[in-house]
C-alpha cells in the first residue's frame, strides 16, 4: 500500500515538474514555430524575462507556436538546438553570448532553421544571425550619473559570469564614470552564477564596505542581491542601476535608473520578417541611436538628480548617438 502511494506521489511530482518545462512540440496548423533557449530562469525580472517577453510577443502578434527551455551547459545547448531543429522549428533564439558557438556548429545541419543569438557578434552563413546589444551605451550614461552623484568616488559592478558581453556593460559604465570622475574607482566582481542571490548580495556588500555608493549589475536573477545590499546599507545612501530590462519597479527607493534594451521588440521584428518571408541574414543592432537601447530614470527617484547632472547625461547621450563618443575600455 505504502509502495503504491509513494509511486503515485512521485509520478504526480514528476508530472508537475515536467509540466514546468514548456511543451516542445510545434502545434500543427501554425506556420511559424519559434523556440527560446534561456541560460537561466525566466522569472528573473531581467535578462531572461526579457527574452521570454519577446517570445510571448511573437506568439501573440504572429500567432506563432512557441516553446522555451532553460539550458545551462554547452551539452544542453546542443541538445536543445537539435531537438527544436529536428522538429522543424523555423526560428530558435539562443538567449545569450554563450549560445553562439553551438549555433554555428549546427547551422549546416539545420539549414531551414534560423538561429538568432542574443548578444551574438557575427552572421554565420545565411541562418545564424546576432542581435548585437550595445548595452555599454546606456551603461555609460549610468556611469555618468553615478560619477556626478557619488559622494565617495567609488562605484561597483557585480556580474554573474565573466563573458565579454558582461564586461562590455561594465566597461561602458566605467568609461562613463571616469569621464566625469577621472580620479574615481570602479570595482568589479563576478559571482560565477546567475542565481546565487546570496553571493551577489555579499559581493555587493563587500564593494560597499570598500566605499562604493553606486552599484550596477549584470547578474540576471541574482541581481536582487545587489539591490538588497544597496537598500540595506545604513551607513550611507547607496543607489543601484538595473540593466537589460526596466527594473526600476523592483526596488523603487534604491534603483535610480535602468540601462534598458528593447529585446522583445527586436525579437518580434525579426520573427515578423521571417513570417513574411522577407528575412535577410544580417546583424540587428540595439543602440541608443535606433531607440532600441535607452536609459530609463526611475520617476520616484528623479528628484535625486539635479538638472545640471541630467544635462550632462543628455549631452553624453547625444554624443553617443552622433557616434562622437569613444569607449576606451570596451573591447569588442
Amino acid at each position: 500500500m505504502i509502495r503504491l502511494i509513494t509511486v503515485l506521489a512521485v509520478a504526480m511530482l514528476i508530472l508537475l515538474t515536467a509540466s514546468s518545462h514548456a511543451d516542445e512540440k510545434p502545434h500543427p496548423g501554425k506556420d511559424l514555430s519559434v523556440a527560446l533557449l534561456s541560460p537561466g530562469p525566466i522569472s528573473d525580472a531581467g535578462w531572461n524575462a526579457s527574452g521570454y517577453e519577446g517570445l510571448l510577443a511573437i506568439e501573440k502578434e504572429l500567432k506563432a507556436s512557441i516553446s522555451q527551455v532553460e539550458t545551462k551547459t554547452p551539452a544542453e545547448f546542443e541538445e536543445s538546438f537539435r531537438t527544436f531543429g529536428d522538429r522543424g522549428y523555423r526560428v530558435i533564439f539562443g538567449h545569450g553570448f554563450e549560445f553562439q558557438d553551438t549555433a554555428e556548429e549546427l547551422r549546416e545541419e539545420f539549414p531551414n532553421t534560423i538561429f538568432v543569438i542574443t548578444n551574438g557578434q557575427e552572421v554565420f552563413g545565411d541562418n545564424v544571425v546576432p542581435l548585437k546589444l550595445y548595452l555599454e551605451e546606456p551603461s555609460y550614461l549610468c556611469g555618468v550619473l553615478a560619477g556626478m552623484l557619488s559622494r565617495t568616488g567609488v562605484a561597483g559592478c557585480v556580474g554573474g559570469m565573466d563573458f565579454p558581453a558582461i564586461r562590455w556593460c561594465f566597461s561602458g559604465f566605467r568609461d562613463g564614470f571616469l569621464s566625469v570622475r577621472p580620479k574615481g574607482k570602479v570595482l568589479e566582481a563576478f559571482i560565477n552564477s546567475w542565481e546565487d542571490v546570496g553571493a551577489a548580495r555579499e559581493a555587493a556588500m563587500a564593494q560597499i564596505a570598500q566605499g562604493a555608493d553606486f552599484l550596477i549589475h549584470n547578474a540576471d536573477a541574482a541581481s536582487t542581491g545587489v539591490f538588497l545590499a544597496a537598500r540595506e546599507t545604513r551607513s550611507r545612501k547607496v543607489y543601484a542601476f538595473g540593466t537589460n530590462k526596466d527594473q526600476n519597479h523592483v526596488m523603487p527607493q534604491t534603483i535610480l535608473a535602468s540601462a534598458v534594451l528593447d529585446i522583445p521588440k527586436a525579437m518580434l521584428g525579426l520573427a515578423r520578417e521571417v513570417a513574411a518571408g522577407q528575412f535577410k541574414p544580417r546583424a540587428v543592432t540595439l543602440t541608443l541611436k535606433t531607440g532600441t537601447a535607452s536609459l530609463v530614470i526611475n520617476p520616484e527617484l528623479a528628484y535625486v538628480i539635479p538638472p545640471a547632472v541630467m544635462k550632462k547625461v543628455e549631452e553624453a547621450s547625444e554624443a553617443i548617438r552622433a557616434g562622437k563618443l569613444r569607449f576606451p575600455s570596451v573591447k569588442r
Binding site: 505504502i2 506521489a9 530562469p41 563576478f190 546570496g198 559581493a203 526596488m251
Partner: protein
C-alpha cells in the same frame, strides 16, 4: 573596519552551511546518506518566501519552510528506508524534482517573468541600540535568531549524540544496526527520526538563505550549498565540532573571496573563485583519510 565586515560576512555565509551540515551529519550518523539536502534547502527556501509573501509574516514563512523541507526529507526516508532504494539514486532524483517543482510553483504563483517578490524578511530580534553598536552590532546582534541557534546546536547535538540514549541509538543505527535490532529496537524508526531532524535543519538553512539573506526566492538559489554541506560532513567525518570548524572555514573563504574581489586586486577572479574548492581538496586530503571505523554504512 574591513576585518569586521569579513567576520560578519563569514557568519552570514557559514550559518546556512552549518545548519545543513548538522542535519546531514545526523542522518549519516544513523547510517544513511542524503544527497538531496540541496533540494530540501531549496524547498524550504521556496516555502518560506511563498508563505511569508501570502501571510505577510516571516515567522509563518519560517514554520512553512521547516514543515515543507521535513515532508520532502520524509519522501527520501520513505524510499530509502521503507522501499530500500539506493539513497544516492533517490537523492539525485529528489534534487531534480525540487528544482523543477519550486520553479513551477514560483511561476504559477508569481507569474512567469517574475515580479521579484521581496517578502517580509526574518530580522534580528535585538533592539536597534544593540544592532548599531560599532563592533558587537554586526558581529553579535545584527543577525536573525537562526544564527545563534545554528551555533548553539553544535554543542547540543554533540551532547545528545555522545551522552544520551537517543544519541546512542542514532550511532548504533549507523555503526552497528544489528546490535540495535538485537536490543529490540527498530533501526528503521531511528533512521526515520534522523531524517526528520535533517528535514527541519535543512528547512532552517533554506529559510535563512531566502527569508533572512535574500528576502526573495530565486529558482536554483541554493547554488550548490547543499553539496558544499555534504563535503563539509565528509571532511568532518561526522564529528560535530569538526563540522563547525569546517563550516567556518568555508564561510570565511567565501567571505574573503568577495572582499578580495572588491579590493580591486589584480588576481584574476577565476583563481579567487577556486579558493573554497581548493580548500575542500586540501581539507579532504588532510582529514578525509579513512580511519579503521567508518562512521556510516550505506544501505545496511
Amino acid at each position: 573596519m574591513i576585518g569586521i565586515e569579513v567576520a560578519a560576512a563569514t557568519i552570514r555565509l557559514t550559518v546556512p552551511l552549518l545548519l545543513a551540515a548538522l542535519g546531514e551529519m545526523w542522518v549519516q550518523r544513523a547510517g544513511l546518506i542524503n544527497v538531496s539536502i540541496e533540494g530540501a534547502m531549496l524547498i524550504g527556501a521556496f516555502a518560506g518566501v511563498a508563505v511569508s509573501h501570502l501571510t505577510e509574516s516571516a515567522l509563518l514563512g519560517l514554520v512553512a519552510a521547516l514543515v515543507a523541507s521535513t515532508f520532502f526529507c520524509l519522501l527520501f526516508g520513505l524510499f530509502t528506508i521503507r522501499l530500500r532504494v539506493n539513497p544516492i539514486l533517490v537523492g539525485t532524483a529528489l534534487n531534480l524534482i525540487a528544482l523543477g517543482l519550486t520553479g513551477f510553483l514560483y511561476r504559477s504563483l508569481f507569474g512567469a517573468t517574475g515580479r521579484t517578490m521581496i517578502v517580509p524578511p526574518l530580522r534580528s530580534l535585538a533592539p536597534e541600540s544593540l544592532r548599531e553598536l560599532p563592533v558587537a552590532g554586526p558581529l553579535l546582534f545584527d543577525h536573525t535568531p537562526l544564527v545563534p541557534l545554528a551555533f548553539v546546536l553544535v554543542p547540543v547535538m554533540a551532547y545528545i549524540l555522545y551522552e544520551t540514549r537517543t544519541g546512542l541509538m542514532v550511532r548504533a543505527a549507523g555503526e552497528n544496526p544489528e546490535a540495535l535490532e538485537a536490543a529490540g529496537l527498530s533501526v528503521n524508526s531511528v533512521r526515520f527520526q534522523a531524517v526528520l531532524v535533517e528535514g527541519v535543519l535543512a528547512g532552517a538553512a533554506g529559510a535563512y538563505l531566502s527569508l533572512a539573506h535574500a528576502h526573495t526566492f530565486i529558482e536554483g538559489m541554493t547554488a550548490g550549498r547543499g553539496f558544499l554541506a555534504l563535503a563539509i560532513v565528509f571532511s568532518a567525518r561526522c564529528i560535530p565540532l569538526r563540522v563547525l570548524a569546517i563550516s567556518l572555514l568555508f564561510g570565511s573563504t567565501l567571505a574573503v573571496q568577495f572582499q578580495l574581489q572588491a579590493s580591486g586586486t589584480s588576481v584574476p577572479h577565476q583563481l579567487i573563485h577556486m579558493l573554497p574548492y581548493v580548500l575542500t581538496l586540501v581539507v579532504l586530503a588532510c582529514f578525509g583519510r579513512p580511519s579503521g571505523r567508518e562512521t556510516w554504512k550505506l544501505g545496511s
